[in-house]
């Protein structure tokens, strides 16, 4: 009846996952109870769960990413403390549990923390910056989000029911094959990623179509913001790379479920093919994360330097160059495979070349700041912290790109320090910069600057104290994923990293305090004008938070920095542009399709993990039924009357006129 699922699946004898799991379940139940008792459920259902508004979906993505970031961070704390304790000792985490933790840490951080935050910020900002009302396929967008949530949910269920993979975050065979991983851990991994991967792919399709086909009048390619360009590049990479991930994981699933022999040791299977295929997705994935991060830094640095971005066109070229070359470097993840000197030389050189594109960007950001009147607000601090940190991470990357050096450093903590250096210094700093930058646009009030700055400095210092020692430990020969060790020379460095993680804990606490304090002080931090940072692109041209339709009238774009132009004109002439003629606006109706689809996908995924075949069948039939039901709908849009559009826009214009009066006579 329930396949492999029995009461033994719950780890009664392991206190750590049991207690952690119970606490999480209790918190979730408490939040649910609070929502129900307070009567917020209908509001949540109407305004958020079924919402197809790109801004709401962006906020939900970012929230999911932030929660999972905390979960992944707790894994990190456990790993660092285990290694600090486990010198010639067993530590407090048994090996099979420790192995699950480092696998879950990597999986969660990449797929369910970094990806949702990056996609969330793209969702929120890209349509606004393009000057349009929504993405190309709004209901699909909602479905994408809920499928990602399904994946995150499955990974978290593995904490209490069964186990997670013990194979590392990329489940290399033959270790991940059935003979060596007979439990459900790898299956949790596979179905979580197969389901959320479909969601990510649909996001890619959605955003490529949006950016290429839906832009405000006059918004030619070379007038788009760099964030839109990097979003385009990242989504092109998603469209071309995520199908490879899906295919690869599907092959591994076939090996595990139906006795296929793609990657097995016997019957002609080829496990190095898995390594090749997974990194053919994996390296573009690095740029899927970091290109939008570059876009965020470009927006922030230009805004807070009070200057247009230096050499915009070379920035576009560098972005698309990286987009292309990111497909030609995957083999540098396994130089030690033994493909031979010529192959390794090719990939070593291509890896060094891709750094050129990033180098161009670094100089462009520096020259943007040069001669600018820099405001050191929190988003700018994250960006400047990024510039320094990322250059260090980039240079250790180029070092690793040299095959002979890589043979020594492969799978060492030097590598671990390198990729944390670029992912934390690049993607995570960008996430925090982007969240602080767009938060007032999303919610109508700024985040508290004081706590934000403390959080930044603690994160920056904490990062260096954790990862610089790991570079040294790696050079001393310490390999990654060690549950315990007995080399005395490594010990001091591991202990310093352990102190660093305490600083990081303080930084994370400050981030949480920042949100709490800001929400409590929201009336003081209110943004009335819709333009709290003196911005340059179109998202600042509408109110904070924007109305469902974003713009009362689609902006008429006449240059590279459309909103800056509008502002300058307004200040020069001391008046806003003439009031437009308002017309009714048609917007897509909300739809529970995404949520229901994800519900059945969660059910199907769970059933597949535990071999509950009747439930698999039920889930698939239900999914088809939802598809038909959705396709059968007759009314897809609703109309917002012209008076309501006018009422909204007049309020916004009034705020802008007040702003204009305060700034009378000032140079633009």
């Amino acid at each position: 009846m329930f396949g492999k699922l029995t009461w033994q699946a719950i780890p009664w004898d392991q206190p750590i996952p049991l207690v952690a799991g119970s606490v999480v379940v209790l918190i979730v139940l408490a939040v649910l109870a609070w929502v129900v008792i307070k009567g917020y459920l209908p509001y949540l259902w109407r305004e958020w769960i079924t919402s197809v508004d790109h801004k709401r979906i962006g906020v939900m993505y970012t929230l999911l990413g932030a929660v999972m970031l905390l979960r992944g961070f707790i894994d990190a704390i456990m790993m660092r403390s285990q290694q600090a304790a486990a010198f010639r000792a067993a530590g407090y985490l048994p090996p099979e549990h420790y192995d699950q933790i480092f696998s879950a840490h990597g999986t969660i951080m990449i797929f369910f923390a970094a990806m949702p935050i990056v996609i969330g910020l793209m969702n929120f900002a890209v349509p606004l910056q393009l000057g349009v009302r929504d993405v190309a396929f709004p209901t699909l967008n909602s479905t994408s989000f809920w499928l990602t949530a399904t994946g995150a949910l499955l990974v978290n269920i593995s904490l209490v029911i069964g186990e997670f993979a013990r194979t590392g975050w990329l489940v290399y065979p033959p270790l991940s094959g059935l003979p060596y991983s007979p439990g459900v851990g790898v299956d949790y991994y596979l179905w979580a990623l197969l389901i959320s991967g479909v969601g990510t792919l649909m996001t890619g399709i959605n955003f490529v179509t949006t950016i290429l086909k839906i832009r405000a009048p006059g918004m030619s390619y070379l007038r788009m913001t760099i964030f839109c360009w990097t979003a385009l590049a990242a989504n092109l990479l998603i469209v071309a790379a995520f199908p490879i991930l899906t295919a690869t994981l599907a092959m591994l699933a076939l090996d595990r479920y139906l006795d296929f022999h793609f990657f097995t040791n016997e019957a002609g299977g080829n496990m190095m093919m898995f390594i090749n295929l997974i990194w053919a997705w994996g390296h573009p994935e690095v740029y899927i994360l970091v290109l939008p991060a570059f876009g965020i830094f470009s927006e922030v640095i230009s805004t807070f330097s009070g200057k247009p971005l230096f050499n915009y066109r070379s920035m576009v070229a560098a972005t698309m160059f990286i987009c292309l070359v990111s497909y030609m470097v995957w083999l540098h993840h396994f130089f030690t495979m033994g493909a031979g000197g010529n192959v390794n030389a090719f990939f070593g050189i291509s890896t060094s070349i891709i750094a050129v594109g990033t180098g161009v960007k670094i100089y462009n950001w520096l020259f943007t700041m040069y001669g600018g009147r820099i405001r050191f607000a929190t988003p700018m601090l994250w960006s400047m912290g990024f510039l320094v940190t990322f250059v260090i991470g980039g240079m250790t990357g180029v070092l690793l790109a040299v095959p002979p050096a890589d043979f020594l450093l492969h799978n060492s903590l030097f590598l671990v320090a390198h990729f944390h250096n670029v992912i934390i210094g690049g993607v995570l700093f960008a996430a925090f910069a982007g969240i602080t930058y767009w938060f007032p646009k999303a919610f109508g009030f700024k985040l508290d600057e004081g706590w934000g700055k403390i959080a930044f400095w603690l994160s920056l210092i904490g990062f260096y104290v954790v990862f610089m020692p790991l570079y040294v430990a790696g050079l001393l020969g310490m390999t990654r994923r060690l549950q315990h060790y007995d080399v005395a020379a490594w010990r001091p460095w591991v202990l310093v990293a352990g102190i660093g993680i305490i600083i990081m804990i303080c930084a994370a606490a400050c981030q949480v305090v920042q949100f709490v304090v800001s929400i409590r002080r929201r009336d003081e931090l209110r943004d009335e004008t819709g333009d709290p940072w003196d911005g340059r692109s179109l998202e600042w041209a509408t109110a904070s938070p924007p109305p469902p339709f974003n713009f009362a009238v689609l902006p008429d774009v006449r240059g590279e920095e459309p909103y800056w132009e509008i502002k300058r004109r307004a200040i020069e002439t001391q008046q806003l542009s003439a009031e437009p003629k308002y017309e009714p606006i048609e917007m897509p109706r909300n739809s529970p399709t995404g949520f229901i689809t994800a519900f059945f996908c969660t059910m199907t995924g769970f059933a597949l993990i535990w071999h509950i075949w009747w439930m698999v069948g039920l889930g698939i039939v239900a999914a088809y039924a939802v598809f038909v039901w959705f396709a059968w709908r007759d009314v897809t849009e609703y109309s917002i009357p012209a008076e309501e559009v006018a009422r909204f826009d007049r309020a916004r214009r009034q705020a802008r006129e007040q702003w204009l009066a305060q700034h009378a006579g000032q140079p633009a």
Binding site: K213, V239, A240, L554, E583, E586, Y624, E637
Partner: protein
Amino acid sequence: MSATDTSFDRATDPYRVGHGREWLSAGAGRGYVHATGHGEGGPASKRVIVGYGFWIFLLSDIVMFSAFFAAHAVLQTATAGGPSGRELFNWWSIVLQTFLLLVSSFTCGLSAVATEARSQLWTQLALLVTGLLGVGFLALEGRDFAGMVLQGAGPDRSAFLSSLFAVVGLHGLHVSAGLLWLGTMMAQIFVKGFRADILRRMVCFNLFWHALDIIWVALFTIVYLIGLGR
């Protein structure tokens, strides 16, 4: 634009060149039906957006197939002492499958022509024939698969057979999904008629069915033609 609008006709074909900048007179806040989206004319029409998005999906689908093709290319000779393609493939069945699929593509094209002419009868008829040909194709493929499994040459026999069953089976899965879609499409056209959103879906369905043909051509070449030589 609501689902009931009928802007889908040749007079408002978004690709009529030389008619740019209509958005100036189209009134702000409305769709810009003449814009293609790749210039400065504002958001493209729904037909362009849907068609374009579906093309991108098809490209991603082809990337997924290419991963399976690559795996098959790597594993084609990894027979592990088991049967090779030369011993297994039923030449006439493959030719017949190819014939059925290519003809179904032709009838699918006819359904698009009939839709263009707004003929309920001929559209339904062309779709029905397309579907029957698809069922025939699947039946033949299923018979071949069953035969192979029965002679002990299932996907668990060798890596070569694993990759063969996977890549051919994936195509078969696509055809099956296409048949479900086709049935839904026929019901929708019957109940709702040639509404703008239904017409956009027909465009997508046609693209999908033809893409299955393109993939079959690659399958025929890489799996069967090369496989027969091994």
